[in-house]
């Protein structure tokens, strides 16, 4: 998948320690998209980078829980600012 390849290239080139994925504009997360997000987390971890997903809509969060999806290996935060705090180790 294109995003994953770009991400791996970017992590390798920059040595970034964190990845923030903003899903504010995402109306649904099904198991297909959920798997994409956890794969991004796995790829990032191979480059010693932590992944934080931010901006999840309340309706999406409720639906994800009922669907049974747990997004293993990625952290979540309310917004990009909180996500950065996590990556900077302040919370």
């Amino acid at each position: 998948m294109r995003l994953q390849e770009d991400l791996a290239d970017e992590l390798s080139a920059t040595g970034a320690r964190g990845v923030i994925i903003d899903i504010t504009g995402v109306e649904i997360v099904d198991s297909f998209i959920g798997r994409m997000l956890t794969t991004i987390g796995s790829v990032s971890r191979l480059f010693d980078a932590e992944t934080v997903i931010v901006g999840m809509r309340p309706a999406v969060a409720i639906t994800l829980t009922e669907l049974g999806l747990s997004l293993n290996g990625v952290r979540t935060a309310m917004n990009a600012e909180k996500g950065l705090e996590i990556l900077n180790g302040r919370s």
Binding site: D30, F32, T63, L67, L69
Partner: protein, 131 residues
């Protein structure tokens, strides 16, 4: 009533959009819209990946006590499912997926009916009612 082909990933997106419009127009709350669209996405992808493609139908229905609902049909003529109980088990998967498609979709809707036989295709009918 809309009948939509499911032959590609783009078709899955179109099914989601059509379900979203029907759900919003019929008074489903934002959370219920999201649940139904997510279930539709899982089921449409099953039709595509496991059924080799098929058809989705979106229908507006009314209950005995006057509530509006959205009813969705997903039909394919693929290989079918031999063990329906197993297919509805969390985490069970034939492919590389997470095994949450059918079982997860069932939890997101109010009514769920799965009909299938080996060699005779698969049909899933779901309903979500407004509250």
């Amino acid at each position: 009533m809309d009948e939509l082909p499911i032959r590609s990933g783009d078709d899955v997106v179109r099914v989601r959009q059509s379900v979203r419009v029907a759900a919003a127009d019929n008074g489903l709350s934002l959370v219920d819209q999201t649940k139904l669209v997510t279930a539709a996405s899982e089921l449409a992808r099953n039709t595509l990946v496991h059924g080799g493609g098929g058809v989705a139908r979106v229908e507006v229905v009314k209950s005995g006590n006057g509530r509006n609902g959205v009813k969705l049909y997903f039909t394919d003529e693929g290989p079918g499912i031999a063990d329906l109980d197993l297919a509805l088990t969390d985490g069970w998967s034939t492919g590389t997926g997470l095994g949450l498609g059918l079982s997860g979709a069932r939890r997101l809707v109010d009514e769920f009916e799965l009909t299938s036989q080996p060699g005779a295709g698969t049909s899933v009918v779901v309903v979500k009612w407004s509250r």
